[in-house]
């Protein structure tokens, strides 16, 4: 396709990008379309629209998602940081708007309707947030005089301050965990890790004690007989009914009774129709993406790329783990999509953006020297591309 000697933008990209990871991601995105064919028609029928309404829209979203994935993976580090700053600022602005004029769905204000499209602004903020926090932590490593930690905490506070009133505790928890993972990977001392971990636990207990919605969710999880665990129960049944090889495409019944069968519970639909083997394959694919991403991070020597890749991989990997665990009733129910597979434009585009950054930052390039703080660090090589 491209000659190795071709020094053009695309050719350069083709020979330096992680093509295995790219292929895996595209395969996952297409797999999501297949699962959408299974999971979404009953929802569409319930809502009284064309049976393939959600499938068509899913397919429609795949095009911009692929464009974003590849487009972002072409960017340089500097462009990535700039885009992250822009996306973050825009996203935060939209989140404020969401709180003011957002559409309330099932008691939560998470969606903003603009021109016929419902946008979940927090989805876009997530990857941008991770990039910015990674940048702040890496700057702190290079320039200890810069208040990177303080700024990272402020960013976290701003984001969470807008997530909690929605309320969206699943996302809040995810953001906290990813931030903690970045903090951990940035090499903070165990003292601070213990302190923050303790604060997190106190916060969780506090949320349980103070916020009825959270208490209800956790209570229901701990004691299934206490209340309505309908969706999770039905989802768990789906895996049992599916067995190892599934009941066959279109043979599922669980999707008929799950309101969120095309989004949060797509994994259960896959479990019933395609079986545990396919589900395990999906788990393995996510595991592969995580391992591959973190291995890239290990190989990188400049702190920003390492932290940003780590943060984004942890973001996607954790979200997948949480969603699958909820489907398997290993965790209490929370509204969170399965990356790449669930229906949802905001979620797809945001993930494409995140993985585009990962691809961009893991492109083979002349390595910066190992992180040694000093005047002779040739970081220009890392930050400014050819």
């Amino acid at each position: 396709m491209f000659s190795r000697t071709d020094r053009g933008l695309l050719s350069e990209w083709w020979w330096t990008v992680d093509r295995v990871l790219l292929g895996t991601l595209i395969a996952l995105l297409l797999g999501g379309l297949v699962l959408s064919l299974a999971g979404s028609p009953p929802v569409a029928q319930r809502l009284g629209v064309d049976s393939f309404h959600f499938v068509k829209r899913h397919a429609l979203f795949l095009l911009p998602a692929l464009a974003v994935l590849i487009g972002v993976s072409l960017m340089s580090e500097r462009q990535i940081r700039r885009s992250a700053l822009m996306v973050f600022a825009l996203g935060i602005g939209l989140m404020v708007l969401t709180l003011l004029i957002g559409t309330e769905v099932k008691g939560a204000r998470r969606w903003l309707t603009i021109g016929g499209f419902a946008i979940q602004a927090s989805e876009f903020v997530k990857p941008a947030f991770v990039v910015l926090v990674a940048w702040l932590f890496s700057e702190r490593i290079r320039r200890p005089d810069m208040p990177g930690n303080l700024l990272a905490v402020l960013l976290l506070g701003l984001f969470i301050g807008l997530l909690v009133p929605q309320p969206d505790f699943g996302q809040t928890l995810l953001v906290l965990l990813v931030w903690g993972a970045l903090f951990f990977a940035a090499g903070m001392s165990w003292f601070w890790i213990a302190l923050l971990g303790g604060t997190g636990v106190v916060g969780l207990v506090g949320a349980y004690a103070m916020v009825p919605h959270v208490r209800l969710r956790i209570d229901r999880f701990l004691d299934p007989s206490a209340g309505d665990t309908y969706q999770v129960d039905v989802a768990t049944d789906a895996f049992v009914r599916g067995g190892w090889i599934g009941r066959g495409p279109g043979e599922g019944t669980v999707k008929l009774s799950l309101p969120d069968s095309h989004t949060d519970f797509i994994f259960a639909v896959a479990g019933e129709e395609f079986g545990a083997v396919v589900c395990m394959l999906l788990v393995a694919v996510f595991g592969f993406i995580v391992l591959r991403g973190l291995t890239h991070a290990l190989r990188r020597h400049d702190p920003f790329a390492r932290l940003a890749v780590t943060g984004l991989i942890v973001l996607v990997g954790l979200q997948a783990a949480i969603n699958m665990s909820v489907n398997l009733s290993l965790l209490p129910a929370k509204g969170m999509t399965l990356p790449f597979l669930s229906y949802g434009g905001s979620s797809l585009l945001s993930l494409a953006y995140a993985m585009g950054i990962v691809l961009a930052l893991t492109r083979r390039r002349p390595q910066a020297s190992p992180v040694v703080v000093g005047p002779l660090t040739p970081r220009a090589a890392a930050t400014s591309g050819p």
């Binding site: 049944d237 190892w244 079986g275 393995a284």
Partner: protein, 562 residues
């Protein structure tokens, strides 16, 4: 390394490349553990046998929950659930509405075309066409092949004995929820909560046993039906109670209704007369007045002057076919002397009379498991005249169940036991029981009641060998606020066998007419009493009461020495 340096090392950021690599590897390990756990959970669920999962509700079960079977005390099924089809429509799928309506009505003609059209043209995506159709109708509708028409199976309540126990069991609505009788009690007390919690909707709960004996119930109802027919009465009621446990063995209120057609239950004359109706019971009440006198220390030799009417407040109280002389206490009872009981009430005192009746439960609403009950109508003022009229059963209206409960206390040793429709042992009953009259009084009452049947106004109540005792009552009915003498309510409060009381029988007939063969009398001794006799003859063998004919020879049970 000292503690201080160790703490200092903990506070230091992990700058070394090696440490950061270690942390990333640690993160990878954590992810592998988490994904591994997810994989293991998938494998566990995949190998789990499918029958272990909780069965989800079908649409029919969703609307029409399972109910427990109701069994009588012998284990015969009184109520059960059967599966019946219901037909629904998804209006948006109907191709030709007019054709569909016409075709459906060709199978179920009783459906109203206009109403059906209205139901099928609204915006909803689901509409019942008809609930609970027959399998034959289902087959015919199915064969029409109409798109947008579907069926669900749902629970329908079925009462094999039909109306025989309808006032006890009550009935359910179309969603299989109890709305009357014991069915409603079961919903209110536990089944409703169970269903609301989403449990036990599919598999019927364990059967529930009730105290009714279907054979006794049938016999009582059968005799009451014949009596109503024979005496041209407008209604009737009968109760059989175990006097030691308070269990209601039979409760009949006529006219009754078919529980499969709950609309019938709403008709005015279909009330449960035993617990919901309140009546002036007339002379039957004298049993309580006499017990009151005995309990207050008057002996069987006490005398009451019935030679002349008693007057109070401008009214004179007289006797029906009075003897016109001084009567002993037993004579007051067996000749049913209004003057005698009036004098007893005045003798005991108004306050004591009220306290005694209150103690027997006549002033309070009597609640059983049946949701239907009513409050007695108690006079607000209680002058001498009221004391006298109440002594022979006028001026105080109570439900027959009140009389049954208090009547049992008269003969079971003086214990007031709340009646129940659910099995209860005698030991359990003793714990609930309240001593309301002295045991000696209860013994004397047994004697008097037997004496009354052997030698008094209730001779026709006797059943050979079963030593029936009791008291008749004929109350003039109030028509338009006055006693007109046009119609009467007759009752008999009986007990058998009197030497060892087991069962109490109350029979009540509303507006029985006089017949040539009753010599023109319509008093209880001529209708309620013989009906009781017939009932006892039929139910005593069922209930295991052994006849003893040698005791019958004695017209007066004088071997009881008081």
């Amino acid at each position: 390394m000292t503690v201080m340096t160790r703490i200092a090392s903990l506070l230091k950021p992990a700058d070394g490349e090696g440490q950061m690599r270690a942390r990333l590897i640690f993160a990878m390990a954590v992810f592998m553990v988490v994904y591994g756990a997810i994989g293991v959970r998938l494998a566990l669920l995949a190998t789990m046998p499918e029958d272990e999962i909780v069965r989800r509700l079908g649409p029919g079960e969703e609307v029409s929950h399972a109910r427990p079977d109701l069994l009588d005390r012998a284990g015969t099924v009184l109520a059960t659930d059967i599966w019946v089809p219901s037909v629904y429509a998804e209006p948006h799928r109907l191709v030709d509405l007019d054709e569909a309506i016409e075709e459906i009505r060709s199978v179920i003609p009783e459906l109203d075309a206009g109403k059906l059209r209205k139901r099928l043209t609204n915006e909803r995506r689901f509409a019942w066409v008809k609930r609970e159709i027959t399998p034959r109708q289902r087959e015919a509708l199915h064969r029409l092949g109409l798109p947008g028409i579907g069926f669900v199976e749902e629970n329908q309540r079925f009462y094999p004995a039909r109306q025989i126990a309808s006032h006890v069991l009550g009935h359910v609505n179309i969603d299989n929820q109890g709305i009357a009788g014991l069915e409603r009690h079961i919903d209110d007390s536990w089944l409703g909560a169970l269903h609301a919690a989403g449990l036990a909707r599919t598999d019927p709960p364990d059967p529930v046993q009730v105290t009714i004996d279907l054979r006794v119930q049938h016999a009582v109802r059968d005799e009451l039906v014949s009596a109503i027919d024979r005496f041209d009465a407008i209604a009737g009621a009968g109760v059989v109670l175990d006097v030691h446990s308070g269990e209601v063995i039979s409760m009949v209120s006529l006219p009754d209704y078919d529980p499969h057609d709950p609309r019938e239950a709403l008709e005015d004359d279909k009330i449960n007369r035993v617990t919901t109706g309140t009546y002036e019971l007339g002379s039957t009440f004298k049993a309580f007045t006499v017990a009151m006198a005995l309990d207050a220390g008057r002996g069987l030799n006490s005398t009451y002057d019935a030679s002349a009417p008693v007057r109070s407040g401008g009214f004179a109280i007289n006797d029906f076919r009075g003897k016109g002389r001084v009567l002993t206490l037993p004579e007051v009872f067996i000749y049913s002397s209004n003057i005698g009981t009036s004098r007893m009430a005045l003798d005991v005192g108004i306050d004591n009379q009220r306290a005694f009746l209150r103690n027997l439960g006549f002033f309070e609403r009597l609640t059983t498991e049946l949701p239907e009950s009513s409050r007695p109508i108690v006079p607000t003022r209680w002058p001498e005249l009221t004391a006298m009229t109440v002594s022979f059963g006028h001026g105080l209206s109570v439900s027959p169940m009140h009389a049954v409960m208090a009547g049992a206390a008269l003969v079971n040793g003086g214990k007031l036991i709340p009646p129940t429709f659910f099995p209860r042992s005698r030991a359990e009953a003793q714990e609930l029981a309240r001593q309301v009259i002295k045991p000696e009084t209860s013994d004397k009452m047994r004697y008097l009641m037997r004496l009354n049947v052997a030698d008094g106004t209730s001779r026709q109540a006797d059943a050979p060998g079963y030593r029936v005792g009791g008291k008749t009552g004929t109350a003039e009915k109030v028509v338009g606020g006055r006693y007109t003498g046009q119609s009467v309510l007759t009752s008999f409060l009986g007990v058998f066998p009197t030497d060892d009381p087991q069962y109490l029988v109350l029979v009540m007939l509303d507006e029985p007419k006089a017949l040539p063969e009753t010599h023109g009398f319509r008093t209880a001794g001529w209708n309620a009493a013989p009906t009781t006799s017939k009932i006892v003859k039929r139910i005593a063998p069922i209930l295991g009461v052994r006849p003893q004919f040698e005791l019958d020879g004695m017209t007066r049970p004088l071997q009881v020495s008081y």
